[in-house]
């Protein structure tokens, strides 16, 4: 009798669980459909293209080929042998370097700004957030042209220098100009998440720290920074990743002389008419970024374990 009752109950339970699972599937399916439509399908298309042969006048020829990936590292000589080439890797390296510099500079500038905003009375904060987002209201292209007007050889800055009898500075078509442009474009993405984490920070904790003997620097290092970490990490990712794929800024302020990955990819779909190679480049970029993020997460986890160890030593 008793076992019968148990089986009935568990059968009932199983059915309930199945119903629950089905309901869940129905509820998330619209979101899944959108993700599939705007992310998985284009990505799948790109992945497919990267393994095809390029057509003579653009487009693709439906024939399997790994030529695009080989072409990233090797150059095909006249005798069909492969020779290693680092020109694309150098462009990747430059892109990563510039993006990292952009991220670091943006962080150094954005943190104090976010801190300042978070410490204002609430009624001023909304205005300050609005001010931070104002550049978004103008087209990115226009903003980059504005920088050209400022930076070029006879632009506002250099003309002023000349009028003061000072030497002209080479402000355009170099890494400086690209980094400046990128920092300018993406700094709101750094300010806003850091502000969000500082804004909800309990400042009584900072008071408690000072009460216990932490001076301003120690309060920053031991209390404010650790508590703002989620915002800092979000900001860094939000600046680093789009900087890597930036196209307009390096094109205009780098003068097309200093290619970044974005420009290289654009070239493949434009002048070079090599769609598979462009797709392959995009995929290599995607894979590299994911790899970096995973390394980062792994290191953070390790550091967490180290902190636990230190804790064990203290406690």
């Amino acid at each position: 009798m008793a076992t019968d009752a148990a089986t009935v109950a568990s059968g009932e339970e199983r059915r309930a669980r199945r119903r629950e699972g089905w309901r869940r599937f129905v509820l998330i399916s619209p979101a899944m459909a959108i993700i599939a439509a705007i992310m998985l399908i284009p990505l799948g298309l790109m992945l497919t293209y990267s393994f095809l042969e390029s057509g003579r006048y653009g487009g693709v020829v439906w024939e399997f080929s790994t030529e695009a990936y080989i072409g990233f590292l090797f150059e095909r000589q006249l005798d069909e042998s492969l020779a290693f080439t680092d020109s694309y890797i150098r462009i990747f390296g430059r892109s990563f370097g510039l993006s990292f510099a952009t991220m670091a500079i943006a962080l150094l500038l954005a943190f104090p700004a976010a801190m300042f905003m978070a410490l204002q009375p609430p009624k001023y904060r909304a205005i300050l957030i609005f001010l931070v987002t104002i550049p978004f209201w103008t087209n990115l292209l226009v903003r980059n042209y504005a920088w050209i007007l400022l930076l070029r050889d006879f632009g506002l800055i250099n003309n002023t220098l000349l009028n003061l009898g000072l030497p002209q500075l080479p402000l355009m078509y170099n890494n400086f100009a690209i980094t400046l442009g990128l920092v300018y474009s993406f700094i709101p993405f750094m300010v806003l998440p850091i502000y969000a984490s500082l804004e909800k920070l309990d400042w009584r904790l900072v008071e408690a720290g000072q009460d216990l003997g932490a001076n301003r620097l120690q309060s920053l290092r031991r209390i404010i920074l650790p508590l703002a970490k989620p915002g800092i990490i979000a900001g860094c990712i939000l600046v680093f990743v789009p900087s890597l794929g930036a196209y307009i800024t390096p094109e205009l302020l780098g003068g097309g002389q200093r290619l970044m990955i974005g420009n290289l990819i654009q070239l493949q779909f434009g002048a070079s008419q090599n769609w598979p190679f462009g797709s392959a480049l995009a995929f290599i970029l995607l894979a590299t970024v994911l790899l970096f993020l995973m390394l980062w997460a792994w290191r953070a986890k390790k550091r967490g374990e180290a902190a636990a160890l230190r804790e064990a030593a203290v406690g």
């Binding site: 309990d202 904790l205 008071e207 408690a208 720290g209 000072q210 009460d211 003997g213 203290v314 406690g315």
Partner: protein
């Protein structure tokens, strides 16, 4: 004297003072001289403290008691250094604290919200102050163990604050504030977030800690019972002023003014005129023309209108003929250990009388009965206002 030197002087004074221990109980450790604090300016101006002067003695449990908004927390924040006084001086051991930032004051605070660092373990929280002062790791570790033992939280060192109950968080906050060897421990309504049973437990615990460490505690609360049971001395505050300070007994038995009499415990306030002033006592005429004896206060002159305070438990019920005043019971509330009677007295008002429910008490008295109210001469106190 520069900040660092002043700080050093204050810290070294700790060692010698705690060595002397309880003998120096009467020495003033903290002197507040005519402290005023004004927030904002113009139309937004808020006068939080109005020329407050107080002395807090070495090793005592001192309580700032008052309703919310009375300035008691502001006073505590001035002591901690989070705010600077608009006028006046704060002296610790004769040294002016003015201008010293919180991290240079030998004073630690237990916050109302506990303010434990959520990203640090219990041990890191407790050791934080010592770490900031550059104490070596092995010494910090010893002190953390010592502090956790003191607040009975051994074995919790590696937990995060979020994994602790409210009472446990409270203990961690205490251990953290005590770990630094402060000269004064400031407590900002630390028990208000706890439920009644836990609050009673922590009251005893705090009292025990204060005795064991011999430290000076400055405790802020709006709970008059808490203030009476825990403190060596209490300062009653209202609207930015200290109205009366003294031992709990002095404040309860001999309130200075209406606010203190009314805020602490229950009291009957009776309007009267001074009828005669004699040696050690005075006679007062009530509105009903009954004349009663009461305590004497300086400055009493015949014919002056005064307010008398009479605690409900200092009065008793009698047969109508035996009472000093007569009236009718209009309400009674049974409390278990005692009963509260509300007695309406013609032209005087309603008097509250509390009687113990002891064996062989005054027998059955019910609503509507005519009774007399009796009290001793020294139960009738004259207020200043």
């Amino acid at each position: 004297m520069n900040e660092a030197a002043a700080y050093h002087a204050l810290r070294t004074a700790t060692a010698s003072a705690s060595a002397e221990g309880a003998q120096t109980v009467t020495r003033n450790l903290i002197e507040l001289r005519e402290i005023s604090k004004v927030f904002g300016s113009g139309r937004d101006e808020v006068r939080a403290l109005e020329t407050v002067s107080l002395n807090i003695r070495e090793g005592e449990f001192f309580t700032l008691l008052g309703p919310s908004g009375c300035g008691k927390t502001t006073l505590l924040r001035l002591l901690a250094g989070f705010e600077q006084p608009t006028a006046g001086q704060i002296l610790l051991d004769g040294t002016e604290l003015g201008g010293l930032p919180p991290y240079r004051r030998p004073v630690n605070t237990v916050f109302q919200s506990y303010a434990l660092f959520p990203h640090m373990s219990v041990a890191e929280n407790v050791g934080f102050g010592l770490e900031m002062h550059g104490v070596p790791w092995e010494r910090i570790r010893e002190r953390v163990d010592e502090m956790l033992a003191l607040v009975q939280l051994e074995g919790y060192a590696r937990r995060k604050p979020a994994q602790l109950s409210g009472g446990q968080q409270q203990r961690v906050a205490l251990a953290r504030a005590l770990a630094n060897h402060p000269r004064v421990l400031l407590l900002d309504e630390p028990l208000s977030a706890l439920d009644l049973k836990l609050r009673k437990e922590m009251q005893l615990e705090l009292k025990r800690l204060q005795k064991e460490t011999g430290l000076t505690f400055v405790f802020v609360t709006h709970d008059q019972e808490e203030a009476l049971t825990m403190s060596d001395r209490v300062a009653v505050m209202n609207a930015g002023e200290v109205l009366q300070s003294g031992t709990p007994r002095a404040i309860y038995e001999d309130p200075d003014n209406r606010f203190v009499a009314d805020f602490i415990g229950e009291t009957n306030l009776i309007e009267a005129t001074v009828d005669a002033v004699g040696e050690g006592g005075a006679r007062f005429r009530l509105a009903s023309n009954v004349v009663i004896d009461g305590s004497f206060r300086e400055g009493l002159a015949e014919g002056r209108e005064v307010t008398l305070a009479l605690r409900p438990e200092r009065a008793g019920l009698t047969a109508p003929a035996d009472g000093i005043v007569q009236g009718e019971v209009i309400n009674m509330v049974y409390f278990g250990t005692d009963t509260l009677y509300e007695v309406a007295i013609e032209e005087v008002g309603v008097l509250h009388v509390r009687t113990q429910n002891t064996a062989g008490g005054i027998g059955e008295i019910g609503v509507g009965d005519a009774v007399g109210v009796d009290f001793l001469t020294d139960a009738v106190r004259v207020l200043r206002d």
